[in-house]
Symmetry: C2
Subunit: 75 residues, 2 copies
Amino acid sequence: MTVDQRDPTPLYQQLATILRAEISSGKIADKLPSESYLQQRHGVSRGTVRRAIEILAAEGLVYTIGARGTFVRQR
Amino acid sequence: MTVDQRDPTPLYQQLATILRAEISSGKIADKLPSESYLQQRHGVSRGTVRRAIEILAAEGLVYTIGARGTFVRQR
DNA sequence: GAGAATTTGTACGTATGTATG
DNA sequence: ACATACATACGTACAAATTCT
């Protein structure tokens, strides 16, 4: 699953939705891929990746640590 | 009051703090100046202005309408 | 421990789209 | 038609912290 450039929905929202699904399905279990990986994987800019992650962080789904990465909040 | 480029605090945070103060003091009463005005006024980029406003919006202090502007939430 | 590579954080600039006045 | 203003998305550059070799 990846982003659809023709969909009028903002790309960062689409990406947030995708990542949210991959987290709840357990496909992403503890650590998110790096921003640069996600950027290439989905064909969007790093800024868009960061916006998507910001949304998930605001939802309390993930948290990111300095230069280490973004992690799934365990429950 | 404006932003201090030598302060290690992120410029958008500094700006958010400044705007928050100007709102609570009543200096900014109903409508925020335009992004381009704030950009010039504080010597930062438009992106930085927008980040600052995002913070205040997340706090529920202001809200922005489409292409009209950003407004102080009345209470 | 030293140095390189990786990863996130901040900041800037530009372009395009859409809505309002 | 035009100017203004916000929204999204791209790109670049550098800093700082961490991780790898």
